[in-house]
């Protein structure tokens, strides 16, 4: 048995720069998508938590729509559907919008569960000390809600970054696209897939590790362990 694990390391060395480029694109679009997802999620969670009329119904419909359709379908709809009504957008924008549309609902649910985990009487306790709504939210509810939301939030970030692998369907040259492309061109399937796994791990492992550190930190801050 040789030490090359059946892989052609010269091919891998040649492929690495292509994967690097693709990884940068994946991370860029992924991070942007996640950021917008967080924004959408925060707004939706607040609307739901404070039961703001009309907006509450709209966000409820959005959340169901977003969570119960696959990202691939959402991307197709955005990429091929929107130009039909005169909205033409680039593949990159489509990827970010799609990811934000999908992630928004997941983030909303993560934040909402955190907010709802804080007992309503904590709000009353803050009110009885003369705090207004904004002060109560900032100093009493949010810190407690955060520590509850963090695990779900971290899981969502990882989930969304993985979902970027669907971007290749709208011809974005992300990691998945690059791997499929190289396999199609040179039939070095094992090498191409090996690198695909390695690069996804390079992107996601640090997120995962950072996530668990933050989780531990915020839990300590949250409940004084």
């Amino acid at each position: 048995m040789s030490l090359d694990f059946g892989l052609n390391w010269d091919v891998i060395a040649q492929y690495i720069p292509l994967y690097q480029k693709a990884a940068i694109l994946t991370v860029k679009l992924g991070v942007l998508g996640v950021l917008f997802a967080v924004l959408i999620g925060l707004v939706c969670a607040l609307v739901q938590y404070y039961k703001i009329p009309v907006l509450k119904q709209i966000t409820a419909v959005y959340i169901e729509l977003s969570r119960n359709t696959p990202l691939l379908v959402q991307l197709f709809f955005i990429y091929y559907g929107l130009p039909k009504i005169g909205l033409k957008i680039s593949a990159s924008v489509c990827g970010v919008v799609g990811l934000a549309f999908l992630g928004g609902s997941y983030m909303a649910e993560a934040f909402r569960s955190g907010l709802e985990a804080v007992e309503p009487i904590q709000t009353e306790s803050a009110y009885s000390l003369g705090m207004n709504r904004a002060q109560t939210f900032r100093y009493v509810i949010l810190p407690q809600a955060m520590s509850v939301s963090v695990p779900a939030f971290v899981a969502n970030v990882i989930f969304l970054l993985k979902e970027t692998s669907v971007f290749s369907a709208v011809s974005l040259m992300d990691l998945m696209f690059t791997a499929k492309d190289l396999i199609g061109l040179y039939y070095k399937t094992t090498e191409a897939l090996f690198l695909l796994v390695v690069f996804y791990l390079i992107i996601l492992l640090p997120v995962s590790i950072l996530g668990s550190i933050v989780e531990r930190r915020i839990r300590r801050a949250g409940f004084g362990d």
Binding site: I121, Q122, E124, S125, A126, Y127, S128, L129, G130, M131, N132, Q135, Y139, V140, P143, Q144, S147, A221, G222, F223, G224
Partner: protein, 256 residues
């Protein structure tokens, strides 16, 4: 008796069709300690919550001095600063230390300096025997300790009136005393207090006036001596009888 501080006039509180408070009138004077007792579900806690506008009322008016207290009013947060409230379940903020629990509202709401409030907080904590727990988190404290912190937290806002909502009901028996002692101390300082409690001997000791609430109405209003020795209404007699098992037993042994 001091000047009137709190006016409760003809208030009505309903949950849909169910009337919880029915035309309740009460005037609380400066320095007065009023104990509200009554069977569960009679509306005692609801009455306290209405005073703080944590519950909206459907009729009547509540005023602190000349300021009307109503849910949704712009001045509500300012008025609530003058009404300290202590809850049965303590409701300390679990993510903050004892000291930060106490400092939060005075610093953020009243914009007082950290040094000034801290000094006051530590003095008060010392007074309730908890100075060495200033840096603890609520979950590291016993129920009685949490409740004493909650009282200090309310005091640091310099309220004109204090509301106590069954503050010993969730405590183990051996911790009840330490909280009641703090409240007796406050009463002797001339604080204006409205206390909902089931501790009858404490009520007897602390109250200037006892309000017996039954079915959402004030059924009886008297000095503690009058109320506990000669209750006028049948309802109050029945209610007080529930607490007299021990008296009955001692009387029996005396007769033998």
């Amino acid at each position: 008796m001091g000047e009137p501080v709190l006016h409760i006039e003809h208030i009505t509180k309903k949950y849909e069709d169910h009337t919880v408070l029915n035309d309740v009138n009460l005037t609380v004077h400066q320095g007065e300690v009023i104990v509200i007792i009554g069977p569960s579900g009679c509306g005692k806690s609801t009455l306290l919550r209405c005073i703080n506008a944590l519950e909206p009322i459907q009729g009547g008016e509540i005023r602190l001095e000349d300021k009307k207290i109503e849910a949704g009013s712009k001045e509500l947060a300012a008025i609530r600063q003058k009404i300290g409230m202590v809850f049965q379940s303590y409701e300390l903020f679990p993510h903050l230390t004892v000291l930060d629990n106490i400092l939060l509202a005075p610093m953020k709401v009243q914009k007082r300096s950290r040094e000034e409030v801290k000094k006051e907080a530590l003095t008060l904590l010392d007074r309730v025997g908890l100075k060495d727990r200033a840096d603890s988190y609520p979950r590291q404290l016993s129920g009685g300790q949490k409740q004493r912190v909650a009282i200090v937290r309310a005091l640091c806002m310099h309220p004109e009136i204090l509301l106590f909502d069954e503050v010993t009901a969730a405590l183990d028996p051996e911790m009840v005393r330490e909280v009641l002692d703090v409240m007796l101390d406050l009463a002797s300082q001339g604080r204006t207090m409205l206390i909902v409690t089931h501790e009858m001997s404490f009520a007897k000791a602390v109250a200037d006036r006892v309000i017996f609430l039954d079915g959402g109405k004030i059924a009886e209003e008297a000095t503690p001596k009058e109320f506990f020795e000669h209750p006028k209404t049948e309802r109050a007699k029945q209610f007080l009888n529930m607490f007299t098992f021990e008296d009955a037993k001692t009387q029996n042994t005396e007769n033998e």
